[in-house]
Symmetry: C2
Subunit: 573 residues, 2 copies
């Protein structure tokens, strides 16, 4: 049974991340209320949704699994979709990180369901970024409220990571455009939870330049509203099939067909041929939330494994004379401890990056804003890449903790294992994230953003560190920062050799993330020592911030050395 | 489409592992013929079997997936079940490693199917080890030929890793015993491929001592043959349900009920209360073959990913001007290279351990035999533990190489990902393997076996090493041996602190395996440089032995440092 880590969230947001946050007081109530939706409405339909799966009729109708529509209605009536958005279109203007913490809960409890609001949120970003006032007025209120959902149509069967290869066509037709083509892997492309679905579709005009510079973005509603907002005209688009997947069985992953008849009516978002710019406004956000999904599944697997290991009795552990719960066995404890510290670390990294978005929004001046934006840009591939890789490990450890029962679907841990496997793939594979880090985020600015981060990590006072870490642990952390610095410089020195850079980018992403995550845990542990927190948090809770940090340094941080050696061996080949 | 790595197998067996092997000449034909069965009969029913799955009737009848029975009949008529067994009971007396290489193929092509002969082979070992002459005469010929299959009944719902807790009862009843109880997770416990199934069942006599010292082993046939071998009397045992699992969907994993009516007739194997001894005769063998299944799935995932990456066109890679196959992208190449070297390394380690069994059997004197047996004992947890962990990584990389298509069941790579997840769990979880290594294989003999291995690794001539590795690579390899030595001594020094030893055992298993696997690749690479091999093997093939070895040292060996640091950090806590 899922319970959101309310104190962890509250501590990170209110005590570690946001300064002078005027909404601090409402956070605990908000989190508690979100926890209710996740625990009472979303989790109970997670396993049944996985078993039931989905089917599609010949007319392209997709009926979602039992309970999904009801849960979604509660989501709308709870105003959960509008937390972070501007009041111009009905949003509540709360920090992004508040929305993130609720989304962690949806995805822990039911990731198939959670993907639907995730995509809608991304579409709101893209429309807000690039659409005309009229389009915004017509579509944003319904999307912000959640009454309509949205999708992101990039991929075609021959255009995945390489968007430049896409073939869907768009033709000018008066005020709108007519779209023709087929898109694949469209998450929540069709369903019965809302009366309308808004598709954001990448397509190419007939006179567009080749490659990524000739891609435009269109808003293609499933049903076209008239000027007064009434849904009138069924558009020429439909789902033609849904994929049979390893996991997220209750999430309809659709093949979408646009313009089988006269062409699907679409409205331009942003400028012609500059669609990728808008799409990236959506995608960057989505990448952070996919990283967050990693945190969600890690948390869920940790909770489930912890409960199982605390209750399953098997064997006499060393130091005991009677059979007892398997958590007593040191190797089981090792696995649970690793799950715990990895989950905490990935949340600390992910929330930090998301809060930087809030800091950018609230910055007093443009330099501050740019600094925070640069930091988010740097951290986005780390969050997406590392938190989703960590999730693979944590869910697999969760299976392992269950022994034979872990392989049986009944337990539910197997579903987490299957569901999690999509995370390193979608919204840009982790290979793509590595390229983003190495080429766009490090080489393009000559290491400015990363060196800024390194400088900040380096500046923690040694006396402060000594209050939570041993000398050896301090040295290990500092060594990791120095090795990251040296490796970054080496990479910058090799910037002309794109092949070598690309071949070490993944290991570089991993080593950067591990040290940064250690730093975020340390920041949290240091915060936990400030006075005056015992009232809000238990002593145990505060102590765990330090224990998890020490554990991370002892059993996870050594991985950076391995990645660092691999990078060096490849560069010096 | 699967093709067995025939040259790799032949090279390892004939040129690296077996000396003075009188059967060397027949190996290529044998392998080619096994490849035909795997490729033409087993692989074509792998994906369909996964989709079709299994069901059970109320009477406990299990119908296997389409084609499984036919393939099994070909297996019997090809005499594949009898390769390594003594001619006393119809075996062909070939080396065990010959059987292993064919089994690698069955499990690559169809692991659900491959599990059936795997269990039968283990039962033959146990019966050969402990049963009376009469039982052997009655059962072994049918099991060796494969006309009957066998199962291994250890686990109960409250007795998994802790066998001492088992509750199935046995009561003396004249010449035989009557068995009553329920067993779970019984692989191939019921099916329609053969006319009879022989269950080996662990149970407890009423007057037995508590715990593991009161467990006896019984042979419980599904149908009891009369003295002339005719199948006459249905025994009081049946499958009551089959599990819904993450993977191996076509393998019936049964809950078995014994003695619902008068008691299932069972025959004692070995002595009363000494059942575990016989069971371990079976289990050690089975642990090696589960490690082999790791090799099988790694190989299959590698082949499939390689084929996909060579043909899927996407994007322009650095150094190219046109879109081309994704293998050109350095990060994709990194993944495929990693898969290749890990697969090669795990095969080299696994085959080495299996060949040591053959060396023990063929030893001239008891000292030699004991040396080889000690080596096998040491290597068994490495093979089971490491090769199955490696398989998790390789199949997951295989999914990743496919991008979005990897998550779609149609591709088939997802099945490998799901199937592989059982490997670190069954036949003793990898946690149990770690305990076996640390406590039984290292501490019990004060490091004798491991120091013997280290000595042998250390003794490779530096000039020889320099013919395949760079100075830096040689140093890395030698450092890893020294670190293994130091860590082993540290562990022996801490032998009184069982909790600490148990907490670092998994990382110790990993670091021991990585260095040992590096050594086995080096041994192979050195062999590939002997003259006179160009006729049997292509130049490319021989060169790949060296490339894979160098790659392993560059991109996998650095992991040992991480494990070593974790061990030290835990010990010095």
């Amino acid at each position: 049974m899922y319970t959101a880590p309310l104190l962890e969230m509250q501590f990170l947001i209110n005590d570690v991340l946001l300064k002078d946050n005027v909404y601090a007081e409402i956070l605990p109530t908000l989190l508690e209320s979100a926890n209710k939706l996740a625990r009472d409405d979303l989790e109970p339909i997670n396993q049944s949704g996985d078993e039931q799966g989905l089917s599609i009729t010949r007319d392209g109708v997709v009926n979602t699994a039992t309970g999904f529509k009801d849960a979604y209605e509660k989501y709308i009536s709870g105003l959960w979709g509008s937390l972070q958005f501007s009041s111009d279109y009905g949003g509540q203007g709360l920090p992004f990180i508040y929305a993130i913490s609720t989304q962690e809960m949806w995805n822990s409890a039911n990731i198939s369901w959670g993907l639907c609001p995730l995509l809608t949120q991304g579409a709101i970003e893209a429309i807000s970024f690039g659409a005309t006032k009229d389009l915004k007025r017509q579509y944003l209120p319904k999307l912000v409220s959640g009454e309509w959902t949205a999708t992101m149509n990039l991929t075609e069967s021959d255009a995945g990571s390489d968007l430049g290869a896409l073939k869907t066509r768009a033709r000018r037709d008066g005020k709108h455009y007519l779209i023709k083509g087929q898109k694949v892997f469209i998450t929540w492309g069709e369903h019965d939870m809302t009366e309308n679905i808004v598709h954001l579709v990448l397509a190419r005009l007939d006179d567009a330049p080749a490659g990524v510079k000739g891609i435009s973005l269109f808003l293609v509603p499933k049903i076209i509203p008239n000027d007064s907002g009434k849904l009138e005209q069924r558009n020429d688009c439909k789902a033609v099939s849904i994929e049979r997947k390893i996991g997220i069985h209750a999430c309809p992953t659709c093949v979408m067909s646009y313009g089988d008849d006269s062409g699907a009516i679409g409205y331009l978002v942003g400028e012609e041929n500059k669609g990728l710019e808008c799409m990236f406004a959506m995608m960057n956000n989505a990448r952070l939330t996919v990283g967050l999904q990693g945190v969600s599944l890690s948390e869920m697997a940790y909770q489930q494994a912890r409960t199982y290991c605390d209750s399953r009795v098997q064997g006499v552990a060393p130091g005991y004379s009677e059979p007892g719960p398997i958590i007593r066995h040191p190797d089981v404890e090792r696995m649970v401890t690793l799950m715990s510290t990895l989950t905490d670390a990935s949340r600390s990294l992910c929330y930090y990056a998301c809060a930087e978005l809030d800091q950018a929004k609230n910055a007093d001046n443009s330099k501050d804003r740019e600094d925070h934006e640069r930091r988010v840009g740097l951290l986005t591939p780390l969050v997406k890449g590392w938190c989703t890789e960590v999730a693979q490990e944590v869910v697999s450890l969760g299976v392992q903790c269950h022994g034979g029962a872990g392989f049986i679907e009944e337990t539910g841990i197997g579903q987490l294992f299957r569901d999690a496997r999509i995370l390193p793939i979608y919204e840009g594979t982790n290979g793509i994230q590595s390229m983003d880090l190495a080429f766009r985020k490090v080489l393009r600015d000559d290491g400015l953003a990363l060196m800024g981060l390194v400088q900040e990590m380096r500046s923690i006072d040694k006396v402060e560190l000594a209050s939570i870490l041993s000398d050896r642990q301090i040295k290990d952390f500092q060594d990791s920062i120095e090795d990251l610095t040296i490796t970054t410089k080496t990479i910058i020195g090799k910037s002309n050799d794109k092949q070598v850079i690309a071949s070490i980018a993944f290991d570089f992403l991993m080593m950067s993330s591990i040290t940064t995550a250690a730093w975020r845990l340390i920041a949290g542990a240091l915060c936990s020592q400030k006075g005056g927190l015992e009232e809000k948090y238990s002593k145990d809770f505060l102590k765990t911030r330090i224990t998890n940090t020490k554990n991370f340094v002892d059993i996870v941080l050594p991985r950076y050395k391995m990645h660092c050696s691999i990078v060096r061996n490849q560069i010096n080949k």
